[in-house]
């Protein structure tokens, strides 16, 4: 049946070898009162039927294959070169597991090493790990590193309100048992106001680049204040933006984390994505999760292996700083293949296309009566639009015309109701942008 290859004869031969009359006998240690319950579930389907059922579920969704998409807010629709998927579908990659046995896992190990190398280049940091679950959990793990760096003497964590709201929520979920003081996102509204919260109990300050409103800010001044208070500066950065804008290292970041999804990973309703984590050399031994290092085999041949293993849960158990085991290995591979194919020039070009198209859209929308575009800061591929009516009303009209509109910022920021976060990438040709502008004009009238 399905993927079980046994024939009747083989089953009999195997049972005879085991010395059990029936397969049921093998379960004698399971309490008999609870053994072999019925499962109230539908019967089996053929591959053909399964595919048809899932196709109909898939087609019930409004997706970027059918609609013009202007929504980002932490998940971005970029072009993924065809070869990325072909490489991910190599069975040698996706049907392997964690490379505990390096002699038969050099493919995975070297790919992770290359991934780490590329993330180091993008962020300007000294080292990167093999991945976390997503951008949100990378930020949560950065808090753990900052606490370790302070030897658990400091308990205050300052978060900018313009870090993705869900990242801030996840960070709080992770640390609810640790008696920490999360501040900043309830009151501070600028880098200067964040700096005012610094004291000798502050372990770290985290900001986003670009932030959730799309804004790009030079935070060198903040970095200086954070460092003189003896705290770490953590920057949550969109890696696609880093192909164009200065690296967080240039502004003094100590740890750079974020969502690697823009690097060749499809939207996929929110996952699987790729949490990346990079830091300065001083903190390498405090990073959670897997790290691959270079070494040699006994013949002196260059090879790769998981290293600094004694930090990890399977060895340190309750003394490990994180419980992470399985991470997002295949997604890190996707990013590595993507960055290799796009290369130095292609990634820059894609980032520039995002920038120019977003600015074209912003300029056109700013010219519409009733709309205002926030131009207080430079931006990358997202910007805030003040709308003449509710964002949901506007989006209802847009969807009728085949457009998925921007994100409703009022969902997360009370003071931003009627504000829409619009995202434009290289996937939006000019006629889509013009159509968006045209409909916004009609709706606003």
């Amino acid at each position: 049946m399905s993927y079980i290859p046994h024939t009747d004869i083989e089953r009999q031969q195997m049972l005879a070898a085991v010395g059990a009359p029936t397969i049921e006998d093998l379960f004698e240690a399971v309490p008999s009162s609870h053994r072999f319950p019925a499962l109230d579930m539908p019967g089996p389907l053929s591959e053909m039927e399964v595919l048809a059922e899932l196709q109909s579920l898939a087609e019930a969704n409004e997706h970027a294959g059918d609609y013009a998409l202007f929504r980002g807010a932490g998940a971005y629709h970029h072009y993924i070169p065809s070869a990325v998927n072909h490489m991910l579908l190599r069975g040698e990659f996706y049907t392997a597991y964690t490379p505990y046995q390096p002699e038969v896992s050099q493919g995975t190990l070297q790919a992770i090493f290359e991934y780490q190398s590329m993330m180091v280049q993008l962020t300007g940091m000294d080292a990167a790990n093999a991945s976390h679950y997503d951008g949100a959990t990378s930020l949560a793990e950065a808090v753990t590193v900052a606490l370790e760096v302070s030897r658990h003497k400091r308990t205050k964590i300052v978060l900018s309100p313009y870090i993705h709201p869900q990242y801030r929520a996840v960070t709080r979920t992770y640390h609810q048992g640790n008696d920490l003081d999360f501040v900043g996102d309830d009151q501070a509204r600028s880098a200067a106001e964040l700096a005012d919260l610094l004291d000798d109990n502050t372990a770290m300050v985290a900001v986003a680049y670009p932030n959730f409103l799309g804004q790009i800010e030079d935070f060198s001044a903040l970095a200086e204040k954070v460092h003189s208070a003896g705290a770490l500066l953590v920057v949550v950065a969109n890696p696609m933006a880093l192909a164009l804008f200065k690296s967080p290292a240039a502004f003094g970041a100590d740890i750079v984390v974020g969502e690697g999804q823009p690097l060749g990973i499809p939207l996929s309703f929110g996952g699987p994505y790729l949490g990346y984590f990079a830091c300065r050399e001083a903190y390498v031994r405090k990073i959670a999760g897997r790290i691959v290092g270079e070494t040699v085999d006994k013949d002196g041949k260059r090879a790769y292996v998981m290293t600094l293993r004694p930090r990890e849960q399977d060895i340190r158990r309750e003394k490990a700083s994180s419980n992470i085991c399985t991470n997002q290995g295949l997604m890190a591979l996707a990013a590595t293949v993507y960055m290799s194919l796009m290369g130095k020039h292609g990634l820059r070009k894609a980032a520039e296309l995002c920038y120019h198209k977003a600015h074209y859209a912003a300029k056109e929308i700013a010219g519409l009566p009733g709309y205002e575009v926030d131009e207080s800061h430079p931006f990358f591929n997202e910007f805030v639009v003040k709308c003449p009516r509710s964002v949901s009303q506007i989006n209802d009209r847009l969807i009728e015309r085949g457009i998925i509109g921007g994100y409703d910022l009022g969902r997360d920021y009370a003071e931003l109701s009627n504000y829409m976060l619009v995202c434009v990438t290289e996937m939006n040709p000019r006629d889509e942008i013009d159509a968006l502008v045209e409909i916004l004009k009609e709706v606003g009238a």
Partner: protein, 505 residues
């Protein structure tokens, strides 16, 4: 096995050529806006290779790997079963792959219906009331479970319960999780049958200890591959002390349709969808660590979960699904809705088997493990040699043969084209080799493995260097792991490569 005679591959940076372009991007079709120069960087040190160079590079790298698609992979506690190809197609359907996570609920009804159905099926299989698909991996499911237990006690106004009991056979993630959640761990010994030592458990839960017990984490069947015959009693003792029971569901591949953990009295467990339901392992993830809970913990589930917002009486009409945050939720564990790409694969897998088919999965996983166990019992010491579940543990050393260890047997197996079992885990078995064949392997493959293991046992006695020097045919031989940790090289920097090339040139 890895491709025969395969050579190692240069780094992608080493084949990079200055000025070479890979994938072409379209020209800009809108008027350009000047860049803010003070914020713009010069360039990023990424490789410059052609598409063919990149493809060959990654294909060559892939061939240095052993995967399920290339050979037997009996890695205990990881359930390395066949990953059906159609499930990969399912996850890549445009309606799933191009669906934005912040699509309004009305526009994501297909995805939400799928997640809702998967929640229901996972609840039915495990005997729990409700399921959250939020956790991204087993370890995150564990964190969810322990945070729920913590919050449940606090919600009752009880802040004294900070102890989590964990058997010494547990996965390392269990104690690490408890510590992450701010709990204290008490380790319990195992008895000579591999079960939890009941006397030690009773003592840990007795008298003044009882009010400090938050709960217990236990793997069922245990990491020794054994069903603990006292499981009902264990649940009773901990509950009587006021603690809750967490089941590590890493080994669910032996329990589908065999027993429902919820009916045994557990309060919460996590699944590993990448193990039990074959959403692939991906070379180390992504996974999904869905958690199931009893009625007691339902309000505390991590969210959002999918609920029916508006039911329908008409069978033809689908209900309206929506995302919902449980009332006392521990919160979000991830941005968005969990690893949806694992949800759709697991859905396809479960739908392919149906309820009775899933029972066959576990029956055959257990049959295969027992078949290998009895066939190796003459050549290896099997400390708990009774009916096992889907895996069993044996000792990787031989009487009278000094200097041959579990690691050497593992490395020698590579020369036979087989991935080694999990070694040195569980920690309570000397020179442990944990073997899990899974149900998708046929008898011929198991016989080949048995024969290889017997030959290796023979070689250990006649020519031990064959083992201690192994592997012999892999792309690289044993690595200097001490050097990797002492002389840290964690990335290759293009400027170093350039410098090295100039020095050589």
């Amino acid at each position: 096995m890895t491709a025969p005679g395969k050579k190692t591959e240069p780094l992608i940076y080493e084949i990079s050529v200055t000025g070479r372009e890979g994938v072409k991007m379209p020209d800009c079709d809108v008027p350009e806006t000047p860049l803010p120069d003070e914020l713009i960087r010069e360039e990023v040190g990424l490789p410059e290779v052609s598409e063919l160079q990149a493809v060959r590079h990654f294909v060559n790298l892939s061939q240095l790997n052993h995967g399920i698609d290339t050979g037997f992979y009996p890695l205990g506690s990881c359930t390395m079963k066949y990953n059906p190809k159609v499930n990969e197609d399912v996850a890549r359907l445009p309606g799933f792959a191009f669906l934005h996570p912040l699509t309004d609920d009305e526009g994501a009804q297909g995805a939400l219906a799928l997640m809702h159905q998967l929640q229901e099926w996972l609840a039915e299989i495990s005997g729990f009331t409700a399921v959250s698909l939020q956790p991204a991996a087993g370890a995150q499911g564990e964190l969810a479970g322990i945070l729920m237990i913590r919050k449940y006690h606090l919600d009752r106004g009880d802040s004294e319960r900070k102890t989590i009991l964990i058997p010494n056979s547990a996965h390392g993630t269990n104690p690490a999780t408890a510590a992450m959640a701010g709990m204290t761990v008490i380790e319990l010994p195992s008895d000579d049958k591999g079960n939890v030592d009941l006397e030690a458990l009773r003592a840990a839960c007795a008298g003044d200890n009882a009010p400090t017990i938050a709960g217990m984490m236990i793997t069922v069947p245990s990491t020794l591959g054994l069903f603990d015959s006292n499981i009902l009693e264990i649940n009773r003792i901990v509950h009587e002390a006021g603690g809750l029971m967490y089941m590590d569901g890493a080994n669910m591949n032996s329990l589908l349709g065999i027993v429902k953990p919820g009916e045994l009295g557990f309060d919460v467990m996590h699944y590993n969808l990448h193990k039990t339901f074959s959403t692939p392992h991906g070379g180390g993830g992504p996974g999904c660590g869905a958690v199931g809970v009893s009625e007691t913990l339902k309000p505390f589930l991590p969210g959002p979960i999918v609920t029916i917002v508006e039911d329908t009486n008409d069978l033809e009409d689908a209900p309206l699904y929506g995302l919902h945050m449980p009332e006392k939720s521990i919160g979000r564990l991830k941005a968005f809705h969990g690893n949806f790409g694992m949800h759709n694969r697991a859905y396809a897998y479960i739908r392919t088997y149906g309820g009775d088919g899933l029972r066959e999965v576990s029956r055959h996983a257990v049959l295969n493990a027992n078949y290998v166990r009895v066939n190796l019992a003459d050549d290896y010491h099997i400390p708990y040699n009774r009916y096992c579940a889907h895996e069993f543990v044996m000792e990787g050393h031989f009487e009278g043969v000094e200097g041959v260890h579990a690691l050497d047997i593992s490395k020698r197996l590579m020369d036979y084209g087989i991935h080694p079992p999990t070694n040195y885990f569980p920690l309570i078995v000397h020179e442990a080799l944990l073997i899990e064949p899974t149900e998708t392997e046929d008898k011929a493959t198991l016989d080949e493995f048995i024969s290889a293991m017997r030959k290796i046992a023979e070689e250990a006695k006649t020519n031990p260097e064959l083992l201690t020097e192994a592997p012999h045919i892999t792309p690289v031989k044993r690595l200097d792991e001490v050097r990797a940790a002492k002389q840290l090289v964690l990335c290759c920097r293009p400027e170093f490569l350039t410098a090295a090339a100039q020095a050589e040139g």
